[in-house]
Structure formats: structure tokens, C-alpha cells
Amino acid sequence: MSEQLDQALSRKYDAGFVSDIESETFPPGLDEDVIRRISAMKEEPEWMLEWRLRAYNNWLDMEEPDWAHVHYPKIDFNAISYYSAPKSMADKPQSLDEVDPELLRTYEKLGIPLYEQEMLAGVAVDAVFDSVSVVTTYRAKLEEAGVIFCPISEAVHKYPELVKKYLGSVVPRSDNYFAALNSAVFTDGSFVYIPKGVRCPMELSTYFRINEENTGQFERTLIVAEEGSHVSYLEGCTAPQRDENQLHAAVVELVVMDDAQIKYSTVQNWYPGDENGKGGIYNFVTKRAICHTNAKVSWTQVETGSAITWKYPSCILKGDNSVGEFYSVALTRGRQQADTGTKMIHLGKNTKSTIISKGISAGNSNNTYRGLVSMGAKAEGARNFTQCDSLLIGDRCGAHTFPYIESRNPSAIVEHEATTSKVSDDQMFLCQQRGLDPEKAVSMIVNGFCKEVFKELPMEFAVEAGKLLEISLEGSIG
């Protein structure tokens, strides 16, 4: 049985093509000059450059963290190029018609037809290719509603007061090693501003892709939801198949004012490396939200890619009655290593959090849930419920659970449960007896295992996530 499963899991990476696009790329290496050049390329104001340089100096004083349950050779930060832009971006396109057709074809291969999304789905897309925002669709409609959705590099110019006020307000420059690095060298990302009382008229979406060899991607996303506003934001990621490891160190900051809500969904399918662990993306991401009174943040993630995932989307539940949710599916196979989870920091009264984590390990991979639930002394009546389930496929993988629970308030309630299981022979037999082939049976059972998380995803994303799992579990069954 497990042999069949193994074969089912050894499928090829579908998004692993390389696009032949002329790029302008910095030579590898990192020093103050590189940061100045990035800033100059983007014609940034002085304050932005200073902020970057301060972050760089913070970073120099920091040490790479080693507490995660992942193993990889030391990253040579001087072997990475910190800026790469498709050349045809040099004179920025004003509309989709002006976008390099090769680049558009790349998106099509990824299943992100920009036109179609514009026309049919009504999703506004900010596509980040290597380091530069390519095009932002559907702007007009958003502008009408007063919603700002643009590349962060543009926001620096157009809305400097907003950027100055909120950038680094949730994830400070010196928060952690990778966040500091990102703060110093971030090249692009999305900026979203939802004015008071506005319900964003459509789902906002960003696709990230790393194309160039030896480039790092350091995007920075900042979403500010003013009082009483709502927004749902989707994020998808892929990268071409390369033998070298590529670094992705992103920072996402969410500011959720009183009564506002942000739903942030991610489908991450970065290249995971080959079956021997060669190549693949190192994904070191800091995502954090600060929730004011009655605010709500919901993080949903489906992680199937990356050689290494180091990611803990978190909520600081500062305001009374604020709510944090984390729904996660992480699938690892081959030699992938994932160390992912969340932090729920309960500071306000009657704050609530829910954590549902589903880890699936196959092949020689290791899949770790790491989480923190902290009940502050003033978190009267706060509640947390955590459920972490692991599914093991085969006997060469690992599934691990490291939940930290800290409570300082007697009226707070924390509940944590974790289980592990495997795809049982009985389940496989029942499915096959009803005519399903083993591949279909595994993907069905795994999809069932993940159901509680998938139902949190926006419709079209849920379909995509289900398919992604299916593809991940697909292969030749003997």
C-alpha cells in the first residue's frame, strides 16, 4: 500500500517552467550600496531609504534563528541578487495591452488569465513577477469605492503619509532576522487601504512568481482596514524549477481597526525541490495582524510548495472582543520541510481565537506545527480552541506538533488537541471496492481530512486548493 502511495506522491512540479524574459538584475551581494541602488531604482524619498538602512543595520546585528525543526545549509546572503525586474518594465505598462506577451503567457500557464479574471471573476490582481509589480487590474472600480490597491512602491510616492504611519507598525524593522532583511531590501509588494465603513467590492488578489536565477524575492504587503471596513485578500505563489535554492523572505502586515475584518488567504506552491532535495524555495515569511476592538482577522493557508517553509501568520488581539482565526493545510513530500503555525496573542478582554491545522507528511518530508497561544493578564474571558491533526503517508516521513500555551489570566480558557493518523488500509480498500483507483482514493481521503480548512477559503480558491492537493498526490500507480 505505502509503495503505491509513494508513487502517487512523486509527481512532477507543474509550475516549474522558466520564462524567457529579458531582465535587469543586480549582481549578487548585499551592502549599503545595494540598498541605496534599490531605493534609487524606485526613486524613493529619503525617509524610505533611511528606514531601509536602519533595518539593514538591525539585520547585521542579528543572528539567523535556528529553533525551527528544519535543516538546511547556511544561506550565503552575498550569493543572492536583491533586485530583478523584467526589462520591459523599464517603461511601465499603462494597460495589459502593453505588458510583455511572454509574461502574460507565464501567468496563463499558471492558470491566472489576467483578462479572464478581470472580465469574469471580478478579482483585482496585483501580479508581482520577481520583484516588480507588473500590472494592477481593475483599478477603476476600486477607486470608485475609495479602495487603494497598488504596488507598495507606488504607494510610497502617492500615499507617503499612510505608508510612513503603518509600515513596520505591526512587524517592526528589527522583529526578526528575516523581517529585518526584508525591511532593508524589499523590492515590491501590495498596498491596500480600505476606508472607513467600506466593504471592498471584490476580492483582491496577488500572484507572486520568482523567475530569475539566484534572485531573492522580498515582497512587502501592507493592508490597512479602517474602522468597520471589510476585505478579502488572496495570495498565490509559484516559482520555476531550478537546482539552486532561492530565498523568499516576505513580510505581511495587517492593520485592522475597530469593527473591521480582513480575510487573508494564501495558496503557496513554490517549487519544493526535486525528490533528492535539490533546489527549491526557502520560504521565510513573517505575517502578522494587529486587531483593534471587535476586529477580526482570518488567516487561511494552503502550503504545498517550498523546500523549507518557516511561517507563522499571527494575530495580536489587542482590542476587546477581537477575533483571530488560523486555518492551515500544509502538505510536505519528497524532502520538503515545513515548520509552520501561528501565534495568537490575547491582550484584550473577551478575545477569541481558533486554530485548525492539518498537516500531511509523505515521502521523506518533515511537517511541523508550531504555535503559541498567549493569554495576557488583562485578557478577561479570552478563549482559544486549537485542533492540530497530522496525517502520515508512508513510514519515512515525520509529523511534529509544538504548541506553546501561556496563560496569565484565570478567566481565560485554552483548549488544545492534537492527533495523528494515517490513511488506513481499510479506507483505501473501501474506496477501491467502490471502483476508485488508488490515486483518487488517496486524494479523496486527504481532501476529506482537510475539509475544515478548505471551507474557509473563498470559492474559487477552494477549488484551486483541492486541485493542487490532488495534483500533489497524483502520479503513476503501480
Binding site: 471496492q433 479523496m444 476529506g448
Partner: protein, 254 residues
């Protein structure tokens, strides 16, 4: 339809079936009775292809093809259905999604077009009605949190939906009260159309009061030791399996 010739099979090196013969023609209902440990359930698992059962001798022909050579799902697609004695739970996978996948896999094999969602739903509702399962069961996870009786009815519901040509019912009566037993029996009887064949594995005669078999076989010590018509079942009910003799009784206790 099904020809079993001198079938020998073992589990973990222990021989369970020791030369079993059976010939089932289209439309026939065969009951297999016998004491615990006689190899009744083993027969169902071997016919459906479950792993861990080693066939050392004999042949099984299903509609002229070598059944033992086929993968589990291939057998299912070609019309063999096993109603499990202990159906397993598959959390999170809805009964509906599961059956739709299954029905269409089997239709594909038959060269039929897949059912649309509406067509499927109509059939599924019909099948649920026949076994008196509320439609909620379609939305629930496969057997997830079902009672024993609900699981058994769910199996019959699936049988109705999948329209197999050979149905093997493995103790579909165990653990059922009389009302549930009738529901199961009615479900089975509704599927008797003169072409579809049934193997009914049971320990007791009571299910056979409701599903009248054409033949009854007594399985003991891995072989059919006695065959007859429906009246054989009544004899067994009256006299138990004692007539099998002391040797066999010991064997079954072991």
C-alpha cells in the same frame, strides 16, 4: 456469472479456505452460512481483492474473466460489490462526493457518460428513500458517526446506486433490529431483477426469512460441506451447526 473452483486461500500463513467450489448463475441468490471462523468473510474479501489474502490454489472466473487477476477497483467497475460487515469511516469525505466519484468511475468502465450533478442527486435521493435514510446522510462524511444500523443501510444504499451485477453481502444483518432488518431486506429484494446475482453471507437464518435464497451452502473448515435449497437454512436454525461434527466444532472454537 461466477465460478469458484477449488479455492485455497490463507491469511498470515494460516489456511482459511481449503478447496471451495461455487457456481453462481445470473439472477441467483446464494446464501453462505456457517459457524464463526468458517471463512465466510474471507470469501467476500478474496472475491473483492483485499490485500493480505494469499490464494495458493484454484481459480475464480467472473463473467468469463479471471477475477483474481484484477485490481480491487477493476473488479468493482466490472460489477462486483461488497457490502461490508464493518464499514470504515472516512472523515470529511461526504457520502455524496464519494458515491458520485464511484458511480462515474463505474459508468466510465461501461462506456457510459458521467452523470450530471442533477441526475446523480436524483438517483441518490431515490436510493436513500429505498433504505429509509434521510437525505442528510448524503452530506455527512462516509460512515462518519453513523450508528451500526445506519452504516448497514448506507451500504445497501450504495449497492442500489452502483447497480452491480454481483452483490456480496457480508453479514448485512448483524446488529440490526427487526425493523432495520426489513429495510435492508427490502432494499436487496428491490434489486432482484432476474439478472443480478447475490451472495448473502450470514450466521443466522433470520435474514433469509426476508430474502429468499435459491441455494444455501454451509461453509465449514474452509469448504462447502453441504448445499441445498432454502429449507437447509431452517434446519440449521433448528439444530445449529452441531451436525458438522465434533472435529469442526473444535476447529471453529480455536
Amino acid at each position: 456469472m461466477l465460478k469458484i473452483n477449488n479455492l485455497h486461500a490463507s491469511v498470515e500463513q494460516k489456511e482459511i479456505l481449503k478447496g471451495l467450489n461455487l457456481d453462481i448463475k445470473p439472477g441467483e441468490v446464494h446464501a453462505i452460512m456457517g459457524p464463526n471462523g468458517a471463512g465466510k468473510s474471507t470469501l467476500g474479501f478474496i472475491l473483492s481483492g483485499r490485500e493480505g489474502y494469499e490464494v495458493s490454489e484454484g481459480q475464480v472466473e467472473f463473467n468469463g474473466e479471471d477475477l483474481l487477476d484484477m485490481a480491487i477497483e477493476e473488479r468493482a467497475r466490472k460489477g462486483l460489490f461488497l457490502a461490508f460487515q464493518y464499514p470504515v469511516e472516512i472523515p470529511g469525505v461526504s457520502n455524496m462526493a464519494f458515491m458520485k466519484e464511484s458511480v462515474n468511475a463505474i459508468r466510465e468502465q461501461r462506456g457510459e457518460t458521467p452523470l450530471t450533478a442533477t441526475e446523480f442527486l436524483k438517483k441518490a435521493k431515490e436510493a436513500c428513500k429505498q433504505v429509509q435514510l434521510s437525505l442528510d446522510f448524503l452530506k455527512r462524511g462516509v460512515n462518519e458517526g453513523f450508528s451500526g444500523g445506519e452504516k448497514k443501510r448506507n451500504e445497501i444504499m450504495q449497492m442500489i446506486l452502483l447497480e452491480p451485477s454481483l452483490c456480496i453481502l457480508d453479514e448485512s444483518d448483524s446488529g440490526l433490529d427487526i425493523d432495520a432488518l426489513q429495510v435492508v431486506a427490502n432494499g436487496v429484494n428491490s434489486q432482484r431483477d432476474g439478472k443480478r446475482s447475490f451472495i448473502i453471507i450470514t450466521h443466522y437464518q433470520r435474514l433469509l426469512d426476508y430474502i429468499k435464497p435459491d441455494y444455501v451452502h454451509i461453509l465449514a473448515n474452509g469448504k462447502v460441506v453441504k448445499s441445498g435449497d432454502a429449507s437447509l437454512a431452517t434446519d440449521v436454525e433448528k439444530e445449529g451447526y452441531a451436525f458438522l461434527g465434533q472435529d469442526n466444532a473444535e476447529e471453529t472454537n480455536a
